[in-house]
């Protein structure tokens, strides 16, 4: 088994639009700014808040606007985080694309209201009912033909693969925290066992969009005292030997990644300061651990316990041992 190190980290969170900003805000004890979700005024969800993302210029960070039209909000966040991580690790320069793996998680389907509104409005009959006939006659012609790219769950990671020229083994899991933790475990194992020279591992989620928000509250996954936050994290993992050979600075040594069944209650250690980022949360937590220049405890003081909703009653504790290289 090879020693695994992190050589690139990218973050877009409610605490900062880059890894450095997020880490600095975290260390300083910062909490996300929040704003009310105006869409729910006058309803049972009135007063619900979401975390505010800091301002960013996606086209500048992604080198142009050409691909943005294909991207959902989560895809934009994921591509920005991946660009930051891959640039830092110089993946394009140092690795043959086919030996770079991509291990990702994505959240609930989350097309923006603005994307689907024309389709729905044009497909509603005079009785306020959805009409398949009107969808065919008016709804589809009024809809952005690229809508499917914004809805399909694999698109955000595939956009990362295109943007960063990643051509190796890959997995994309969805839609909750446990799946993100599984992607991280797969990535770490792939590097440790030599299946890939480099693993780009990450997740992006946008649970603050109205449809996702309603569902999360409806399902009891987002408590009344919790608030959602959009976010993304990507980390580049490679072997210590590979980093040393090319003189690549090591950000953290990742001695182990483990998923163990536990009976303790689910725990998102970022939630009360950053908001709940669901599928992105374990990856943000891992990235922060790598940036923490210390033990995992520097990040959260506890492990990340993910409920595995697809296996009722199951919970997985994500444990990592990461040591900052500083």
């Amino acid at each position: 088994m090879a020693d695994v190190v992190a050589t690139g980290i990218g973050l877009v969170t409610s605490l900062g639009a880059t890894a450095d900003e997020t880490a600095a805000a975290w260390r300083a004890g910062g909490c996300a700014l929040r704003r009310p979700l105006g869409e729910f005024d006058g309803t049972a969800l009135a007063g619900s808040e979401t975390a505010v993302l800091p301002a960013f210029d996606a086209s500048a960070r992604l080198g142009g606007r050409r691909m943005l039209k294909f991207m959902s909000h989560a895809a934009v966040l994921g591509c920005m985080a991946a660009r930051e991580a891959c640039s830092q690790a110089a993946t394009r320069r140092r690795f043959e694309p086919g030996r770079v793996g991509l291990f990702c998680a994505t959240g609930l389907a989350a097309a923006g209201v603005q994307d689907v509104a024309p389709l729905i409005e044009q497909s509603t009959d005079e009785h306020g009912r959805f009409s398949c006939r009107l969808l065919g006659e008016r709804g589809l012609p009024a809809t952005n033909p690229l809508l499917s790219f914004k809805i399909l769950a694999n698109m955000p990671p595939c956009l990362v693969s295109i943007q960063e020229s990643i051509k190796g083994p890959n997995y994309i899991f969805t839609p909750w925290e446990s799946q993100s933790a599984a992607a991280l475990l797969e990535a770490w194992q792939a590097v440790a066992e030599g299946e890939v020279q480099c693993a780009v591992v990450g997740a992006a989620d946008s649970p603050s969009n109205p449809a996702a928000f309603v569902f999360l509250r409806q399902a009891g996954l987002l408590g009344a005292d919790e608030y959602p936050a959009d976010g993304a994290a990507y980390v580049v993992l490679e072997s210590a030997e590979s980093a040393a050979r090319s003189g690549q600075p090591v950000l953290a040594r990742v001695d182990s990644v483990d998923l163990r069944p536990v009976s303790s209650r689910p725990c998102d250690p970022l939630g009360n300061r950053m908001g709940r980022t669901f599928a992105a949360a374990p990856m943000i937590w891992f990235a922060l651990a790598c940036l923490g220049c210390g033990a995992t405890a520097a990040v959260a003081g506890s492990s990340f316990v993910c409920p595995d909703y697809a296996a009722p009653g199951s919970r997985w504790e994500l444990r990592i041992e990461a040591r900052g290289a500083a």
Binding site: V116, E121, G128, F130, L135, L140, N154, P175, P307, A310
Partner: protein, 432 residues
Amino acid sequence: MNRVGITGFGVVSPIGVAREAFWQSLADGRGGIGPITRFDCSAFSVRLAGEVKQRAEVPAGDRVDAIDAIDGIDAISATAATAGVAADDPKVGFALAACAEALGQAGIASLTRDTLLHLGVSLEAFDMQKAICGGRPDFRSIAERSMRPGAPPLQIPLDTASRLIARRFGVPGRSLTNCSACAAGAQAIGHAFRCVRAGRCAAAVCGGLDSMINPLGVGGFQMLGALTTDNARGESACRPFDASRSGTVLGEGAAVVVLEPLDAARAAGKRVLAEVCGYGSTLDAWSLSAPDPEGDGAARAMLAALDDAGIRAEQIAHINAHGTATRVNDEVEAAAIRRVFARTWQRIPVSSTKSMTGHLIAAAGAVEVGACLLALVMKQVPPNPFLNSVGQGCELAHVGHAAVPFDGEYVMSNSFGFGGQNVSLVLRRCDG
């Protein structure tokens, strides 16, 4: 490292529910594509699909009513299950039925903590009516309505089938939901194969499920221009590699295989249907909607699977192609096959079973692994019933209109996903 055997297979498809019906249709070259009956598509330019016509029996079970109050989502899944979730999201019912059949063949009564459950699925089903209030998409009203006690869930998350399988058949050690589009089912099987081989789990239940035969699914693919509008063709509308091909046709269904360490399965007296021995997974990193024109990603997936299996290209004796019947994809796949199998492609029989099933998207790879598995077991490779004139650039040793006898040892199944995800799997004959 364990050798990995398939001990169970279950399928729900447009050409048959359950193994025997599925295989009989494949062998006879009977297509399952016809007019869409699931919704009024009269105003759509696409009016054909491969619908599951036979009722897929979802096994009853007392676990379905259990509610775990801590993981709040379970309350919703229980409600959905008791109300017949298959009505809201047909693919979920397909998955339950396929899983029941596969587990039954493998002689597994329930999933346990040393079992991996890994399913591929593509897109949430979304009831458009739920997004309308007062004649428009008004989230204020939608929120108000959705938060009333007993209101149906606004979304049906992609892991719903896994959750219901766990309720019905027992909780697995780990459950993964793979969303790698058209490669998802094959990738789920490939990952599960790796896990069983490495001894990370004692058994794996894996495959894929999908149904995009709904207004948004058909409409979305219609907008992308991926579906044929040649509605008059009926059953023969999907013609992979044919000169007259004009696009793919959506199908629906699910397929599940049970993987176990081969030696352990044999020691337990189980019949091993075939061995999974190679898996390759790559990315095109080219385009969201079109394959790399050189077929580089597809070729690398095939080569990786061969390398993983430890065999030479010359040992592959049958290929189940991804074969979507879109203009570009088929040409690119054919070119990639010719490149990888440079010395033998002219004598490797190629079947493209989407001609009969339609494109089952996330379930396609799993269904086609099933077709390969049955080709090995039944000693026949399926025909290409609607392939009349091979298109330029699509030259391969395509099987004709009738199934042909087959006694080869290794077969390959290709799955190349929208977005540029490529998967190839190698299966090996395992008589007895």
